[in-house]
């Protein structure tokens, strides 16, 4: 299954998931890359505070081309949550 980003590019679920995880890894210096998976909790495992999580919004806009509402980002509890919310915000399946 594939979905379109806001610019009309097609993404597979796996490709989008890897892109989101790359963004989270870049914002988590010092953490072993393999430790960050879909199950990783943003607040408890990575120690992000309420506002730090907003740092994912801009790279998601610029690299995955999906504009998530900030409140949707604030509500994300895990990396998998973010992946699901980006996927849900993409256009319909091919």
């Amino acid at each position: 299954m594939r979905r379109k980003d806001d610019l009309g590019h097609w993404w597979t679920a796996g490709g989008m998931e890897r892109a989101v995880i790359r963004i989270v890894r870049r914002l988590s210096p010092g953490f072993a890359r393999r430790r960050i998976t879909k199950k990783t909790r943003l607040h408890q495992d990575l120690g992000w505070d309420e506002w730090y999580v907003l740092r994912v919004a801009k790279p998601i806009r610029t690299t995955i081309h999906v504009g998530l509402e900030d409140r949707v980002v604030l509500a994300a509890r895990t990396v998998g949550d973010l992946v699901g919310r980006v996927w849900n915000a993409m256009g319909g399946p091919a």
Partner: protein
């Protein structure tokens, strides 16, 4: 393979978000304060009645645009152990705008003392960097669970009061500790208020909390200092 990945994305369906959400904590006065548990402390001194100390704030949050949201709330710093002039009741509304690399908040707040003798109505504007320095908004390292966050701003009411706020949190398992220092410039002189807490989480949202405060805070700027042990309660999306 693609089907399996698509299924995995679908399986991780995030919980739907309501149009509005309710948060309850120590106070809405800052994100740090809201994440501190609301506390009820009872103090008994021989020969005196039972005293109470209550610190609680409630906040309702909802979207107004893709990169903006609105918060409105009430708070109380009360209890019979505090004199009426040391009690604070407040209400506020503020709008946040994410402008990565900073977050900006503008709003208005009404505050009164316990006897409603002193009132203050202020417009506020403040900002914080989202991150970018070690420990700013995120743990210093995977081994050191310490983080900090600064805010700078100004309140405009009967005069202009620039202020700064610095908070720090440390988390280790069920134990959390935090401190928040606020500094105001009022009519050319500095005022400071610091509060801190150490909480041991019993179950989600409920903790035993030691809390303390020292300094002068609006609207009366009366000097206060106290520490106590009580029951903490917090309602936040993560709890």
């Amino acid at each position: 393979m693609l089907g399996a990945l698509a299924t995995s994305a679908a399986a991780g369906q995030p919980a739907p978000i309501g149009r509005w959400e309710l948060l309850i904590g120590h106070s809405y006065s800052s994100a740090r304060a809201l994440m501190q548990p609301a506390t009820l402390t009872l103090e008994k001194v021989e020969g005196a009645p039972l005293y109470s100390v209550l610190d609680v704030g409630a906040l309702v949050r909802g979207s107004i645009a893709a990169r903006s949201w609105l918060e409105t709330g009430l708070r109380a710093r009360a209890g019979s152990a505090r004199t009426p002039s040391q009690r604070v009741f407040g209400a506020m509304a503020r709008v946040y705008r994410e402008l990565d690399p900073v977050l900006v908040a503008v709003g208005g707040e009404y505050q009164a003392d316990g006897g409603f003798d002193v009132h203050a109505l202020d417009a506020t504007a403040e900002l914080t960097p989202l991150g970018g320095l070690p420990g700013l908004g995120t743990w210093v390292s995977p081994a050191v669970h310490l983080r900090w966050r600064p805010w700078i701003g100004a309140a405009v009411g009967d005069g202009v009061r620039p202020y700064g706020r610095l908070s720090a949190d440390w988390v280790q398992g069920r134990l959390e500790a935090g401190v928040e220092e606020s500094l105001w410039l009022v009519s050319g002189s500095g005022r400071s208020f610091v509060k801190g807490d150490v909480s041991l989480r019993l179950v989600a949202g409920i903790s035993v909390t030691i809390s303390g405060e020292l300094g002068r805070s609006p609207p009366t700027w009366e000097h206060t200092g106290r520490a106590g042990l009580g029951l903490g309660f917090r309602l936040a999306p993560g709890d």
